[in-house]
Assembly symmetry: C2
Homo-oligomer: 212 residues x 2
């Protein structure tokens, strides 16, 4: 990568500042309404600096979205390299995704404004794949859990949607409400309650005094 | 209400057409970008007709949103006038809200574009109250179920978020995906699975062969 004298000193700083300022502007004013001029002014740099790093507004947006795409892929990847019970891995998966989203809440918020908002001419991002891959990932774990006896035979699709559906709404609450009405511990309690309900009866943790 | 000769003949028709055409335009083009001229042209009437019925664009938008607000309130209201088990009433409540939303999917979609989209200058609507009232309504039913022995003692908040969270994501799927990946029967299966998990053990419906 060639560098110009102007941007050499604090390369990563400047790049990161452009990303952060643009996320803020895209969310506050909308992607379509935000100009390159506004972004560079907010970041305290000149237009050629933005063009150098990202080519244009579209490039900057794609860089931001590819960033959370990679983060999501890492969560799915991490799941394959860890062992433990299916219950443990489901909890790790959901809390891992929750933590990653929490650390990038402004980007998640931006994704929502693009996905649900009116057309803004932003480059296409396949947001649906995140949800689809989450369903597929959780389904594979459910199958494993049923096969190894951790999960009682049940309606697999219903179990999947109850887990992913709850998680998804809890995540949404983090971007919709300030302060959110449910936190990470609440997420763990929800996933645990659903899994308790489909555990073989001897494992039922919500009914410690029940006949077995 | 005084009527002008122009609009007397098919009053409700014209009014309804203005509502429907504006919903379509608000979703497709955005609330801010849609003009009164575009709405009346789409509805095949003149501007004074829109002013007569709704005063202005804001009035038309508020009329649409108040419409789904009333529909939501009716669902909560209906719950208080029906009897039956807590399980039955929870299923009725969620399927009733699902059906009402299904019949007004374009309006639900519009609400999402306003709630999550960039600021568009639309009059304020307290969308959060729908979620808050849903949580409160379901919590009251959960308390009743625990008190009458239908629901085993459990983490009330976790049970509430698992039910409402799943429902909310399933509803969202109806507006996000075409065709949706889960339908009304899927919703019933999800709510049933979660409730089975917190039912006293003798009632467990997902483990028909299990020891009791």
């Amino acid at each position: 990568m060639s560098t110009s004298p102007e941007i050499q000193p604090r390369q990563d700083d400047v790049r990161q500042r452009l990303i952060e300022k643009s996320i803020g502007l895209f969310v506050e004013r909308g992607y379509a309404a935000t100009t390159v001029r506004e972004i560079v002014e907010a970041a305290g740099v000149s237009k050629p600096v933005l063009y150098y790093y990202f080519k244009n507004k579209e490039g900057l947006y794609l860089e931001i979205m590819n960033g959370i795409g990679q983060l999501f892929d890492q969560q799915v990847e991490a799941l394959h390299s860890t062992g433990g019970t299916v219950r443990r891995r489901l909890l790790d998966f959901f809390t891992g995704m929750f933590d990653a989203a929490q650390e990038n809440l402004a980007v998640v918020r931006l994704a929502y404004t693009i996905y649900f908002g009116p057309p803004q001419g932003a480059p296409y991002i396949d947001f649906n794949r995140f949800f689809d891959q989450t369903l597929a990932t959780v389904d594979a774990l459910i199958i494993e859990g049923i096969n190894n006896g951790e999960i009682s035979p049940c309606n697999r699709s219903a179990l999947n949607w109850s887990l992913v559906g709850s998680y998804h709404t809890i995540l949404e609450d983090q971007i919709c409400r300030n302060p959110p009405r449910i936190d990470r511990d609440g997420l763990i309690a929800v996933i645990s309650l659903i899994l308790d309900g489909v555990a073989p009866q001897a494992d039922h943790q919500t009914f410690p005094g029940a006949d077995q």
